[in-house]
């Protein structure tokens, strides 16, 4: 042996670490081949030169070069070797250093996409916004989309392709999979199983179909632990085939929610929130539309229930009885009304009457997690009310191949158990963690599948049990496509080349084809090249699948993959900026046209390039939404198929996806872990939610600890069908009695540093026959307590507790109208009058006087603003222990208050950013003038002047200031450095910080305006919270301009200032919450 083997691994490792500094994983890969590495050490330019010796690596290197040139040739990607930074010899068009570019892409969740615009600073995506042109986003985002940027840069993501834990190159995987596939070829792929999450991607579907063409006996299964399974199966129960239901809340005057959380759950939630909000404004802009009325029954408190005008907490088993009673009241054929316990007698007739009075403009919405029969009845009720075609429309399903998730997974498990599976490919998802407990998707089972391949973002529980693990590229690193709730296709374009050599599902499935090394860019482009004509002609349809289990049905000519485009095409694509410069918008969208195109006919290529650039720029492919279809529901069939509600104990359990970590896929995302859950304000844990009465009957509850943010919660053992987990309890007003809610997504065993040890695993209780609720759970107090970190202790606006402080103002619509214009004292005039009550002189403003108005009527408490703020302003995550000490750093919080009886209170949400007081109590007490009034009225915080006396925070009546008690910010992790917004200071230890009204965005707008010698336009400055808000509840602007939106809102009758009596003269004001109760029910 040569001297290469004399080198010991530890010294190589340390040397590698020392030499490359930032990135050592690539060198680790080469550690597998010591000879090569030895050689590498002796070369002058080792990292790049070595790429040329390896054919795969060379190709990779060329791709990289292409990608980085395409990404404006900047050296921001960490994966590149250390290079000397040289200035541009020629400035790339459209790129101004220091000015971000915005690219349109889309985020798939449960397979369905939401259109996004991603802000990119010199090749680094830093912030996610909604795509205003996209039907499911309308410019807004949810918490998951906001937090996706952190997942992208998560250093705990899987970074290496491994075989049995050993690092392997992609070529090794391709080499290994070939013989297996060859062996399967004569069998028709009978031993091949592919398990994906829900697939709406036309390209992926086309790839799957061609695989199923090649391997006719192979099977494709889909499983999503949350997904839209309830609605899907409900549609099939009612119509005999899968349908996609789309609501229009803008047209609905009266809405009934049957345990639905349409304001927070599902692929169209952002759109629905926007539409719903548009009918909640009784004054101000949009106030001319009549206010809608929302009735809700719910088996676990939801945001939708919180916004409802009338809400009844119902045990899950009672929802069906309620629905039947209502359906029979509405005259749906074949439904017998039965008694419903827990619903006041006058309720159902009143709701029926109200719905019938608004025929064609009412809406019955069935819950996402309700069984098919509820959906079928809801469809029938909408039919009976004449809503179909008005407030509700049906289309073909969005899914490429809609299946019953659980049935599909069960079939797979059966096949594995009977030894039929030789090759199992798991593309995304984490079934070992998330599969229902009774399917026993564990090592015992998986051992029976001979070769297992897992592709995922993380080395998770499933990756552990598979021989091959392939790191998946994050959607911000991938070329792909996805359909929205209405079928609109968006191309997912990467913002950065994969940080950790991740592969996409397309590239994995390409391994089954004859061109295994195709990049996802080529695959997606090739697919759409073939479809362009159909799309333009309006006749495009995604590839069809016949049977639910995924057997390919036809031998259609495989026209989807245009031949010959592979070799000459550039290795990586050119992402298209959507908004070259934010807000100014006066530059051409089509910036880069320097893409060389190889062998293809010139005109067709040019045509396609034009099409391609447009769809990338727009973030969607026009005319791809699904056509509506009409069909009448067959309720009788659904009712027959409906299983009677199971009996078996009087204590019921409800399973729900978690409002922050969802089904567990975001468990390693610190922003989401630390985001207070909407109603409980719990962070870093899940809990068993109980009603106050049930908790006191069981003798369990929570005690406030002494450190500020911690509570000591009694633990209970949940015993359900013989399966047991231990959970801490939380008491939630408005929760139905004798019911316990548990949230999925916690108790992950194999997860990164962030998610480790958080919460308990509710999947251990969940069974495939009743995935969302069931009866017969036993709740046994264990006599032990557990510490939970919450951000808000006191929820009740109870005069007994807090006196008569009017923090959230609310009134009913009739009260509001009775007061009439001018009937109530003009809030704005009072505020103006107060100005003179101060000893300090008035500030004088020349041009701008910033202010914000937050509409409590429309705010749904979804908390997207909180994560948006965190992302925009580089706000650190502090961890459970620090939250327990009351030191969370969120600049913006959403306060939740309850009013009324604990069994069924009214719920109010109040986002609280800095008030930017005109007479700010913080400013006068700062000894070093580190917080001062700006000439545009902002209450500025000067971090480098702050010495950290914390007096300002003590004197802030709103307690919106946050202090860096420790060095909270991660100054070490390289990827996290890339994530930060370069326009915002990264704060260090010992300084105070708080909401700045996104002063960096104001500055940007000011610079633009000054260059053009004009005042800043209304709407030009959009704060991060405002832009994320799906309900458009936050409006920011210039109060000096009487015509600005914010000025108009501040003159509104509903406008009031929080803690007005202190005369702090806050610039952030609120519009009071107006509810629209049914007068008939209100009297009772």
């Amino acid at each position: 042996m040569n001297k290469g083997n004399d080198l010991d691994l530890t010294s190589i490792t340390s040397r590698v670490k020392a030499s490359s500094g930032k990135e050592y994983w690539r060198s680790l890969e080469e550690l597998a081949d010591t000879d090569e590495f030895q050689e590498l050490l002796h070369r002058e330019f080792p990292q790049q030169a070595s790429e040329f010796t390896d054919p795969v690596g060379r190709r990779r290197f060329l791709k990289l070069m292409g990608a980085s040139l395409a990404l404006a040739g900047l050296t921001a990607c960490t994966r590149q070797p250390t290079e000397i930074i040289t200035p541009y010899a020629r400035q790339p068009e459209g790129i101004v250093p220091g000015r971000p570019l915005f690219y349109a892409t889309a985020m798939p969740l449960d397979g369905v996409g939401t259109g996004l615009l991603v802000e990119s600073h010199e090749g680094r995506p830093t912030k996610i916004e909604g795509n205003p042109d996209h039907p499911s986003s309308l410019g807004a985002t949810d918490v998951f989309a906001q937090a996706a940027i952190l997942s992208l840069y998560d250093p705990d993501r899987s970074q290496t392709l491994t075989y049995l834990g050993d690092i392997q190159p992609w070529s090794a995987f391709l080499g290994a999979i070939r013989p297996v596939l060859s062996a399967q070829m004569p069998l028709g792929g009978a031993g091949v199983r592919i398990l994906t999450e829900t697939v709406t991607s036309p390209t992926l579907a086309s790839q799957l179909r061609s695989i199923l063409d090649d391997f006719p006996s192979a099977k494709w299964h889909q499983y999503d632990p949350v997904g839209g399974a309830g609605a899907r199966e409900g549609g099939r129960a009612a119509f005999g085939q899968y349908v996609n239901t789309i609501y229009d809340f803008e047209k609905a005057d009266v809405i009934l929610s049957l345990d639905s959380d349409f304001l927070h759950c599902g692929p169209a939630t952002l759109r629905y929130s926007r539409q719903f909000a548009s009918r909640r404004r009784v004054s101000g802009e949009g106030g001319e539309k009549p206010m809608n009325r929302l009735y809700a029954v719910e088996s676990s408190p939801t945001l939708t229930g919180a916004k409802a005008d009338h809400k009844i907490p119902l045990r899950p088993s009672q929802v069906e009885a309620f629905t039947r009673a209502l359906a029979s009241g509405l005259g749906v054929q074949g439904v017998q009304a039965s008694s419903v316990e827990g619903v006041p007698g006058e309720w159902i007739p009143a709701v029926v009457k109200d719905l019938q009075q608004h025929r064609g403009a009412s809406l019955v919405v069935a819950g996402e997690f309700q069984p098919p029969v509820i959906h079928a009845l809801a469809h029938a009720m909408n039919q009976a009310l004449g809503n179909v075609g008005n407030t509700v429309v049906y289309t073909d399903p969005v899914e490429a191949n809609p299946v019953d998730d659980i049935a599909s997974l069960r079939e797979l498990v059966d096949d594995i158990n009977t030894g039929q599976v030789d090759l199992l490919i798991i593309v995304g998802g984490n079934p070992v963690y998330s599969a229902p407990a009774d399917l026993n998707f564990d090592l015992e089972l998986l051992r029976k599948a001979r070769l297992r391949v897992h592709m995922g973002l993380y080395k998770d529980e499933t990756a552990e049990l598979c021989q091959w693990h392939i790191p998946q590229a994050h959607f911000l690193e991938s070329w792909s496509d996805v359909r929205a709730f209405d079928g609109t296709v968006s191309i997912i374009q990467p913002l950065i080349s994969p940080l950790y050599y991740g592969k996409t599902a397309h590239e994995l499935l390409a391994a089954f084809s004859d061109r295994p090394e195709q990049t996802s860019h080529e695959i997606v482009r090739d697919y759409w090249r073939g479809q362009m004509g159909a799309v333009r002609g309006g006749s495009w349809r995604p590839p069809a699948f016949a049977s639910p289990a995924g057997q390919a049905n036809t031998n259609q000519a495989n026209t989807n993959q245009a031949p010959g485009a592979g070799l000459g095409a550039p290795a990586a694509g050119t992402p298209q900026p959507a908004r070259p410069n934010n807000q100014s918008g006066n530059q051409s969208a089509d910036q880069s046209d320097a893409q060389p195109e190889g062998a293809a006919s010139a005109s067709a290529t040019a045509e396609f390039e034009k099409f391609w650039r447009k769809v990338l720029h727009d973030g969607l492919i026009a005319n791809t939404q699904l056509p509506t279809r009409t069909s009448a529901p067959n309720v009788a069939q659904a009712l027959q198929a409906a299983q009677p509600a199971q009996a078996g104990g009087d204590f019921e359990i409800v399973f729900r996806p978690d409002s922050t970590v969802y089904d567990g896929r975001f468990a390693n995302n610190g922003w989401l872990q630390e985001l207070p859950k909407h109603l409980t304000k719990l962070t870093w844990d899940n809990a068993a939610l109980l009603s106050p009465a049930t908790a006191s009957r069981l003798g369990v509850g929570t005690k406030i600890g002494s450190r500020s943010g911690e509570i000591y919660s009694d633990q209970v053992e949940l015993d359900y069908n013989g399966r047991k987990v231990v959970a801490p309890v939380m008491v939630v007003p408005g929760h139905p009695d004798n019911t316990v809610t548990v949230h999925l997504g916690y108790g992950r065993r194999t997860v990164g540093r962030v998610g480790a040890g958080a919460g308990f695993n509710a999947n251990l209780l969940r069974t495939s026959n009743a995935p969302w609720f069931g009866a017969g759970v036993r709740v046994n107090p264990r006599g032990e307590t557990m510490m939970l970190a919450v951000t808000q202790m006191h929820h009740m606006i109870d005069p007994e507790v807090v006196g008569d402080r009017e923090l959230v103002k609310s009134q009913s619509l009739s009260q509001f109208q009775a007061q009439g214009e001018g009937g109530q004292e003009d809030g704005h005039a009072i505020l103006e009058d107060r100005r003179h009550y101060s000893l300090y002189p008035e500030y004088e403003y020349r041009e701008n006087r910033w202010g914000m108005a937050i509409d409590l009527s429309t705010c749904t408490g979804c908390s997207a603003c909180v994560v948006a703020c965190q992302s925009e302003n580089n706000i650190p995550v502090v961890g459970k222990e620090e939250v327990a000490k009351g030191r969370e750093m969120h600049w913006l919080r959403v306060d939740t208050y309850y009013r009324g009886p604990q069994e069924n209170p009214d719920t109010f949400f109040q986002p609280v950013p800095c008030m930017h007081c005109e007479k700010a109590p913080c400013e006068v007490v700062c000894p070093v003038a580190a917080t001062v009034h700006s000439e545009e009225g902002l209450n500025d915080m000067i971090y480098n002047r702050c010495v950290g006396t914390r007096y300002c925070s003590n004197n802030c009546p709103y307690k919106v200031r946050r202090f860096n008690f420790f060095l909270y910010q991660d100054w070490e992790t390289p990827t996290l450095k890339m994530m930060r917004n370069p326009d915002v200071t990264v704060r260090s230890r010992g300084v105070m910080e708080k909401c700045t009204y996104c002063v960096q965005r104001i500055s940007k707008a000011r610079i633009d305006a000054q260059k053009e010698d004009r005042p800043i336009r209304d709407g030009e400055v959009v704060t991060a919270c405002q832009s994320a808000c799906p309900a458009d509840a936050i409006v920011f602007g210039n109060m000096s301009d009487p015509g600005s939106r914010v000025s108009k809102l501040k003159r509104d009758r509903r406008n009031y200032a929080l803690l007005d009596e202190l005369n702090t003269q806050p610039r952030t004001t609120y519009l009071s919450d107006v509810r629209n109760p049914n007068p008939e029910l209100e009297k009772a």
């Binding site: 406030i704 600890g705 002494s706 450190r707 500020s708 943010g709 808000q792 202790m793 006191h794 929820h795 606006i797 507790v801 807090v802 006196g803 008569d804 402080r805 923090l807 620090e882 000490k885 009351g886 030191r887 919080r893 306060d895 939740t896 208050y897 109040q910 609280v912 109590p921 006068v924 007490v925 700062c926 000894p927 070093v928 003038a929 002047r945 702050c946 010495v947 950290g948 006396t949 914390r950 007096y951 925070s953 003590n954 004197n955 009546p957 709103y958 307690k959 200031r961 202090f963 860096n964 008690f965 420790f966 060095l967 230890r989 010992g990 300084v991 105070m992 803690l1059 202190l1062 702090t1064």
Partner: protein, 472 residues
């Protein structure tokens, strides 16, 4: 020791009769020489008592703990304490106010009582002033170290800088900086000037060269000439005049830290007088706490007599009543203002999560001093000692109640929280007590803890001579 001054145990009856006529501030039978001997010998004796070593050793260990805490604090950040949002100030400001308050008695005794010609002050003023100084030193640590970035705390001083930035003069913390630094300076000067004649005495009596040199340096060439005495008297009186307003101003300014804020429970006009009274109250309690063991261990019962203790007890009773009035007015104003937040604040103090703190405070600061109405209590040294300790605790509780219970529940229930001191809060607090005691032990050992020359002026001989001189 050449002449052992004779000890005499007074029967109480005798004291009472003496009280009715002319109460003694010094035991009978002393001469100029014996007074000087007795006091100077403590500083000059070769043998340090074993008890001193024990006491100083313990205090020194606490000082080491303090240093360790400070090092860790600077290294990690103020997050090691229990403070949070909403309770941004905890033990730091609490102990700052407590220590500053304790200092007040020293200044009051030395300056105001001097101006008021209360000669009984003479035997306690020296160590009361020392106590002031050490308490201010302990207090001064807190504002510095409680900042998030203590290395930048000098920004609170107005100094010329390239940024042309001055402190923000509307902030009470800036007033604090001036008030406390002035106070520390004047107190130190006052104490040192008062020590000069005694340094000269020690210089003259010291046997060892080193001691001679050091005391000599400190005595600044004092020879006891009439001119020296004249200048001394002038300076001392001037400094007393300067120090007098400080007694009132320092704690007034400290109270502004709270009164200027908008917080219910802080924002009260009664705070300045109530804080000053509280400061004097706690200061006298601390003097008592120190004087009682001192006179016992060093046999100074003749110098620090029952009359001193009795007078201090009376001052404690008076200031205690003012403080009680303050508590009453806080509650009354909360009700009378009909302000929701104020009403809730006092209700929360009395019945909220920290109710036990409030009622313990009432017990310590309002109920306990009422015993001082009784002559028998005032004459019982052990009972006075216990009461003084209770009052010290009570004043600590008062600051805890004011700071923590006001902050932990203010305006918006959504931001309410809790607070409790951590290990590091306590280690810093106990460490400062150690620092205070260590300095005091050093002071007792190396400096005359009672003013020698002033004691001589209150001897009967001094008066007689003066009278005789006038007659002549």
């Amino acid at each position: 020791m050449s002449k052992e001054p004779h000890k005499q145990d007074y029967p109480h009856e005798e004291v009472r009769t003496a009280e009715l006529t002319k109460p003694p501030v010094i035991g009978p039978g002393y001469t100029f020489g014996s007074v000087t001997d007795k006091i100077a010998s403590i500083a000059l004796s070769r043998r340090t008592p074993f008890g001193w070593f024990v006491g100083f050793g313990l205090a020194f260990m606490l000082v080491m703990m303090l240093f360790y805490t400070i090092a860790y604090l600077v290294f990690k950040g103020v997050g090691i304490w229990g403070i949070n949002i909403p309770v941004g100030w905890g033990f730091d400001i609490l102990n700052f106010v407590w220590w500053i308050g304790i200092g007040h008695a020293g200044t009051l005794i030395s300056a105001i009582l001097l101006l008021l010609r209360q000669e009984w002050r003479t035997s306690i003023n020296r160590f009361a002033e020392a106590m002031t100084l050490f308490a201010v030193a302990c207090a001064g640590l807190y504002p510095l170290l409680h900042t998030g970035r203590p290395w930048l705390a000098y920004w609170l001083f107005p100094y010329p800088n390239t940024m042309q930035l001055m402190p923000q003069f509307r902030s009470p913390l800036i007033w604090d900086v001036f008030a406390v630094s002035t106070y520390a300076t004047v107190s130190a000067l006052f104490w040192y000037i008062g020590l000069i004649p005694d340094f000269a005495t020690l210089r003259d009596r010291a046997k060892k060269t080193a001691a001679k040199k050091i005391y000599g340096l400190l005595a600044m060439g004092w020879r006891g000439s009439a001119r020296h005495w004249h200048r001394y008297e002038t300076t001392y009186l001037l400094l007393a005049g300067l120090a007098t307003p400080l007694v009132v101003s320092v704690h007034t300014v400290v109270s502004f830290d709270f009164a200027v804020a908008v917080l219910p429970g802080w924002h009260a006009t009664i705070f300045p007088p109530y804080f000053v009274a509280g400061a004097i109250y706690s200061g006298f309690a601390m003097v008592m706490t120190l004087a009682i063991p001192l006179r016992k261990f060093y046999g100074l019962e003749d110098f620090i007599t029952l009359r001193h203790l009795r007078n201090m007890a009376k001052i404690m009773l008076a200031t205690g009543l003012i403080v009680a009035y303050g508590y009453m007015m806080e509650a009354f104003m909360a009700w009378y203002s009909a302000n929701t937040y104020e009403e809730y604040m006092i209700k929360n103090r009395m019945t909220g999560p920290y109710w036990y703190m409030y009622w313990a405070l009432i017990l310590c600061n309002v109920i306990t001093p009422q015993f001082l109405w009784s002559r028998r209590v005032r004459h019982s040294v052990p009972v006075l000692f216990v009461i003084s300790i209770i009052v010290n605790v009570g004043m600590w509780l008062e600051r805890y109640v004011i700071i923590v219970t006001s902050l932990h529940r203010d305006f918006l229930p959504s931001s309410w929280g809790m607070y409790s001191g951590t290990f590091w809060d306590w280690s810093m607090y106990i460490g400062t007590i150690g620092l205070f005691l260590a300095l005091l032990f050093l002071f007792i050992r190396f400096l005359p803890m009672i003013s020698i020359f002033e004691m001589r002026t209150i001897l009967p001989q001094a008066e007689v001579n003066e009278a005789e001189a006038k007659e002549v």
